[in-house]
């Protein structure tokens, strides 16, 4: 996989942002992003002229729109044209998501536990989702220094609950970036993976997110793969039941931590990180990962990690450690799924 650093939730002055698309693109390029999604509130007019800006800054600009409704905000990406957010009824959001799908797009819950009206109108997700299988993703980390906020912990728990129910829903971060202001707080990056041999296009990036070829971090790039019976399964892929049956040999996980990504654009103290593999079975494995900025061994690979042959629905990796003096989740992958 080739991993692209993405910021998937942004605004310009076409809604309530205080930046032009060009100012946003320039800021994103400076922060080491390879792609952004423009998700203005209820309009796609800000995308006019995006090709020349995309070329100038060497940045993919994915078309999107944030449905800014009375019962929730929903980020939509990759649409060929506008889908009508005003028809969304509290019990009929599934139809809205299906309309987005018909236009080639995907839809995700934005900051689902941010406080609602009147503090932030419609920001809390109050839609009754009658069929969660239509939901493509959940923005589980919103804003800066995301993982320490209770609202984001609730979103992460919601995502985990849905995975435990057997749903395959991707997870992302989104800064909800309205202005070019500098911050000392860690920024979250969603890396989207493009398989080797595939061209990087807007469509492929959307497809990566749809499939869960995604991993989220405030620093190092964390990836997970599972090998079973000679086959290799990357993030978002499905280990078929025939392959992880007890009699077909060992199931092994491998984890890679690349600290060289966006070099110089994030900082973490030298430390012993805690790497966890977890699934619907709970925590399955824990390893200590020593790291210092002068580490000659980079990326760090942990391979041959043993997994029990007991059935599970999904498995993901998490990296925990100290950030700004706080013990926090630093990175997590989307799952590898099991049939």
């Amino acid at each position: 996989m080739r991993w692209l650093a993405c910021e998937l939730h942004t605004h310009t002055l076409h809604s309530d942002g205080v930046q032009t698309l060009e100012e946003l693109a320039a800021g994103a390029a400076e922060l080491g992003f390879d792609a952004i999604a423009l998700t203005d509130h209820n309009t796609m007019s800000g995308l006019a002229g995006k090709e020349s800006i995309s070329n100038k800054y060497g940045l993919f600009i994915l078309p999107g729109m944030e449905w800014t409704t009375f019962y929730g905000h929903m980020v939509t990406l990759g649409l060929s044209e506008y889908a009508d957010w005003r028809r969304a009824d509290r019990s009929r959001i599934v139809e809205g998501i299906q309309a987005v799908h018909r236009l080639g797009g995907i839809a995700g819950l934005a900051h689902p536990f941010r406080i609602g009206s009147p503090a932030c109108t419609g920001c809390y997700w109050e839609y009754e989702v009658k069929d969660w299988s239509v939901v493509d993703y959940i923005e589980v980390w919103s804003g800066t220094f995301a993982s320490i906020h209770t609202n984001n912990r609730r979103a992460y728990a919601l995502w985990t609950d849905k995975l435990n129910e057997g749903l395959r829903i991707s997870a992302t971060s989104g800064r909800d970036w309205h202005a070019q202001k500098t911050t000392d707080e860690p920024l979250s990056i969603t890396y989207l993976g493009i398989p080797e041999g595939e061209e990087t296009t807007e469509e492929h990036l959307i497809d990566s997110l749809r499939k869960g070829q995604a991993t989220v971090t405030i620093g190092p790039l964390l990836t997970l793969a599972i090998s079973a019976n000679g086959h290799n399964f990357e993030l978002g892929s499905v280990v078929s039941s025939q392959l992880h049956a007890k009699d077909l040999g060992a199931l092994k996980a491998s984890v890679t931590l690349d600290f060289t990504v966006r070099s110089g654009l994030w900082i973490l103290p030298d430390q012993a990180f805690k790497l966890i593999l977890c699934s619907d079975r709970g925590q399955e494995l824990e390893r200590e990962v020593m790291w210092s900025r002068s580490n000659p061994k980079d990326p760090i690979r942990l391979s041959g990690l043993p997994l029990t042959p007991e059935p599970r629905k999904w498995l993901r990796a998490e990296l925990w450690g100290i950030v700004h003096g706080v013990h926090a989740l630093i990175a997590f992958t989307n799952p590898v799924y099991f049939d």
Binding site: D16, H41, T43, S45, Y82, Y124, T150
Partner: protein
Amino acid sequence: MHLPVLDVKGRVTPEDSKTHIRIPFQIDQDCSLLQVRFEYAPKVLEDRDRSLMLLTQSFETYLLPEQRERALNQVDSYFPLNNLITLSLDDPNGYRGACHRHDASLELQLSAEQASPGLMPGRLPAGDWQVTLSIHCIVMDSCEYRLQIGVERS
């Protein structure tokens, strides 16, 4: 030459929160420019007791019990509370964009070549157009709005 097409006033209350008001209008052929002026008042809720009451309700609805005390201690960071009405526009063929921003007064222009931010430039087809006012939140007993539409002919 500027020709008025519509001038309506209305009043909304907290019960209108989370509803849309649809206001149709027609334009004829040969329109080269559409102008929309929308304003509402009051914008800001100055009444601190009422703000506190509304926010306390909101904390109870949306925050976990363990988050509420901290939120109440930082209640000033949520002030001031505002009324929010946003505007979107449809031409006879479909959506022409929205202006989701916090200004209580909008002056918008739309033509084949250019459009105010949020709206999409393009032909101004004759026929049935519509403004949608989305009443996201009304925090005062009453909020008055005025919508004026005019056109210029080529």
